[in-house]
């Protein structure tokens, strides 16, 4: 049985998407064997799962996500970070100090201070507590140089592309190092200021034209033109 709406149609919360036969995917919910949209977005289906690609949203942490956070508080347990989500994240002292150690507050601030930007990974998150971060991983830690921009987290998947195709193309084409946080923050580092500025321009373009066709080609053209 087909969807009750056309594929790739813009839907709004409460719109009926499918009856029977289908399972509720992202940004949908089911009630009495019917599936409805829960966010504004574009409906699609893969096999028998119907989902909505949200056009408006905010970042909800998932274990394994790479995020860029800003230290907003320090307490005896560790550092509290703003990761642009409904919940603040915690970086426990044990993530940084290997041995069992009882650091006083001012020693912690010497490692990471309020205002510092940290590239980290979400290591734990459930309904009863705020997300926990870890620094175990390549390149994770305090961000000391480069530019950080913020974009809608809903469009991050497009910036990364299928199997990283888009972001790899941009990295190669601009010669910049780019670390993409799932929480909508992107770190750009490059040898030349012009390269960094150009990279940011591309990222903004991807954000604006995220769901339009031919974007990959247009970005590729843009890079080619710049190189000339």
């Amino acid at each position: 049985m087909p969807l009750t709406v056309e594929d790739r149609q813009l839907v709004t919360p409460g719109d009926l998407l499918a009856e029977v036969d289908y399972k509720a995917g992202e940004n949908t919910y089911s009630e009495n064997d019917k599936i409805y949209a829960s966010k504004i977005g574009i409906v699609g289906s893969r096999r028998n799962i119907v989902h909505v690609i949200a056009l408006r949203g905010f970042y909800t942490p998932q274990v394994g996500d790479i995020v860029i956070g800003k230290v907003v508080d320090i307490n005896l347990g560790g550092w509290v970070l703003d990761i642009n989500s409904p919940y603040q994240a915690i970086l426990f002292v044990s993530e940084v100090f290997e041995r069992s150690f009882n650091p006083r507050k001012d020693e912690l601030s010497e490692v990471f201070n309020i205002g510092d930007m940290i590239l980290a990974k979400v290591s734990g998150f459930d309904r009863t507590r705020d997300p926990a971060l870890t620094l175990r991983g390549r390149g994770l830690g305090k961000i000391t140089h480069g530019r950080i921009i913020e974009m809608t987290s809903a469009k991050i998947p497009r910036l990364i592309g299928k199997k990283g195709s888009m972001i790899d193309m941009v990295k190669k084409g601009t010669g910049c190092q780019i670390a993409v946080g799932q929480n909508g923050r992107v770190l750009v580092r490059g040898k030349r200021e012009e390269d960094v500025a150009f990279t940011i321009k591309i990222i903004r373009k991807v954000e604006e034209e995220a769901h339009t066709s031919g974007l990959t080609n247009r970005i590729s053209e843009l890079i080619k033109k710049e190189k000339m």
Partner: protein, 254 residues
């Protein structure tokens, strides 16, 4: 309901109301989405002379912390009228009416929100009435619902709201300020149309059982019309032409 010392002819001989509307006609209504920069979601409505703006912040950390609910998000709603919004200047401090309306409007919106998904967080809804002309609580619910959708908060449905009433003995839809003040009854209703679930129901005035049923049905019809306008406004704001939409199948990172 304050009765004027002289009865106004609110419905003329042709059966039309003071502003020229038919008894079952909605005032001209226009929604605008996403007009504020800082708020996570926002919307604006002009319904008749009502001008109301709604903004949503959240889900975000709850402050003060001790108010947080362990198993779901705390939805807080503030309905507030600007001092210049009514004929006689209104003092800025929240009046008892605004406090009651904040409560009932919040209760009208919350059933639509999947609050269970964000334990310990807060969703704050701010409604500012810039100009008021009767039926502001209904317009507030409708516009706040759009602001929640604009914020990307998962919702079961939009909430559409409209009032019906009795004026010069006749059942009418969407009373303006004069009709509300001088009429005989006012019945605001809010509805999640998909499940036909009523989330707001208030009434003041005088209805026989039959009149109540009539007015109630008319208000529900009005809600349906508002719902269509809400969806239209969202589609206009967010549509992307089909031809231009790329094949998203392959792009989605599972």
């Amino acid at each position: 309901m304050v009765e004027g010392s002289q009865k106004k002819n609110l419905i003329n001989k042709k059966g039309l109301r003071v502003d020229g509307r038919k008894p079952d006609e909605l005032r001209s209504t226009k929604f605008e989405i996403g007009l504020l920069e800082k708020a996570m979601g926002s919307a604006y409505v002009e319904q008749g002379k009502n001008k109301i703006i709604a903004a949503v912040y959240g889900p975000r950390e709850t402050h003060p912390r001790h108010l947080a609910l362990q198993d779901r998000a705390l939805l807080r709603c503030r309905y507030h009228m600007a001092p210049f919004s009514v004929e006689e200047r209104k003092r800025p401090a929240p009046s008892r009416r605004e406090i009651e309306l904040s409560k009932v409007i919040g209760e009208a919106l919350e059933p639509a929100v999947f609050v269970d998904l964000y334990p310990r967080a807060s969703i704050d809804v701010f409604i500012e009435v810039l100009q008021s002309d009767g039926g502001s609580r209904c317009a507030s619910i409708s516009v706040a619902s759009l602001a929640l959708a604009d914020a990307g908060i998962p919702l079961r449905d939009l909430v559409a709201s409209c009032a019906a009433g009795k004026v010069d003995g006749e059942i009418v839809l969407d009373l303006n300020d004069d009709e509300d003040k001088l009429g005989e009854a006012d019945l605001p209703v809010a509805l999640m149309p998909q499940s036909e679930s009523i989330t707001l129901l208030q009434m003041d005035g005088n209805f026989s059982q039959k009149e109540f049923e009539s007015a109630f049905n008319l208000a529900l019809k009005g809600c349906g019309q508002i719902y269509d306008l809400q969806k239209q406004a969202l589609k206009e704001k967010y549509s992307i032409k089909k031809e231009v939409l790329e094949d998203l199948e392959g792009e989605k990172e599972e």
